[in-house]
Symmetry: C2
DNA sequence: GTCTATACTTGGATAGAC
DNA sequence: GTCTATCCAAGTATAGAC
């Protein structure tokens, strides 16, 4: 990598503008012209650097996804029990709602319906998140009573679905209060599950 | 109502075509031309009968929403405890995933970002679903220990978010197996909550 | 590598014949 | 009430000057 610096800079500016446009206008509003207007550069640059609008949108998801995955991994590594994991998950997810990462993902998942060539690219970028959630749930639930009642894979799928759905609802009306209450509720739920002995009070290997 | 019959018939055909197009092509693919091609009628009819594409999409959500709300109300009325409510919710929601009602709603919520005039109309049509979920949760949880731990309003919000998120994920790859497992998991969870005495074993007023 | 100009396509919407 | 024809705006993408 490190090819010319100037080209890489411009690519980054385009990707950044694509992210901002997806956040503000959604998939249907993320045209080459709209992205160029957001970033203050020429529309033709998108095609020179990425070849198509679709490919710059995929690059946008790659960029936020890598950045946020790093944040989630770092935060998860700090958690040594389910209560802590729930708390950091809430904290990081709230950052996401604000930063727009989940919005970018949700818009691209919804938009994939209209573009058969986009769909497989989005699938490939959503699955790592489900796998990551499964890893984290498994750290505390795999060998516990909870793990046999609720397979980590299924819990992880539900958690990711819940996060995506919360994004849809909370940005529809701009209501963050309800989401806030839900995370406090989740903290209480994690404490209850731990108190009931369904999950070990501490432990779980380090996050990978 | 009952105005000319012919006009009402055509309106219904257009709305039906809009629903099918939203299901198959998503919001970004639901153009007037695409809807007309799906329904086999002229594109100009949409503007004659509805004035704009936006308004026919809103009518599409109205139609599925009314129809599905009736189905949910009827099903919920049968449930006399939380276990039954969970089971019927799963059954009805699986019908929805297949029929496409949730898909229509999700696509319009996501699409609302790109059309400021669409957003308030969608908000007004999503809120009744959150209110309905709250009513149902409250029937069994309001005066129980669960109700004081987890306010029905917040639980309802989470349930709706989960349903919307499951739609996004399950239709992204066409994976219905994971959703199936989740509903069996929910059945078990409802049974556990009841066994723990967090919720009355029977009761809850009739559904409105 | 970036800009201007432009070709071509699709989409929203209307006019006017039937 | 429905269809054909058409206008115009917006979108993707490319060619070619700089």
């Amino acid at each position: 990598m490190a090819e010319g610096t100037k080209g890489a800079d411009t690519r980054a500016r385009i990707v950044q503008a694509a992210i901002e446009t997806l956040r503000a206008e959604g998939y249907a509003g993320a045209s080459a012209r709209a992205i160029a207007a957001t970033g203050g550069f020429n529309q033709a640059l998108i095609f020179y650097h990425f070849g198509s609008v679709r490919d710059v949108l995929i690059a946008a998801l790659d960029r936020t996804s890598e950045e946020r995955m790093a944040a989630y991994r770092a935060a998860a590594a700090e958690a040594t029990d389910l209560v802590e994991l729930t708390r950091v998950a809430g904290r990081i997810y709230r950052e996401d709602l604000a930063s727009g990462h989940v919005k970018v993902m949700v818009e691209l998942i919804a938009g994939a319906s209209s573009d058969p060539e986009l769909a497989p690219a989005i699938v490939a970028r959503v699955e790592p998140w489900i796998a990551f959630a499964r890893e984290q749930v498994a750290r505390f639930a795999e060998t516990s009573p909870l793990g046999s009642m609720a397979p980590p894979q299924d819990v992880a799928y539900a958690v990711v679905a819940l996060f995506l759905g919360l994004e849809l609802l909370s940005h529809l009306e701009g209501d963050t209060a309800r989401t806030e209450r839900l995370f406090r509720l989740a903290d209480g739920l994690a404490a209850t599950i731990t108190a009931l002995g369904l999950v070990p009070p501490t432990g779980g290997g380090g996050a990978s």
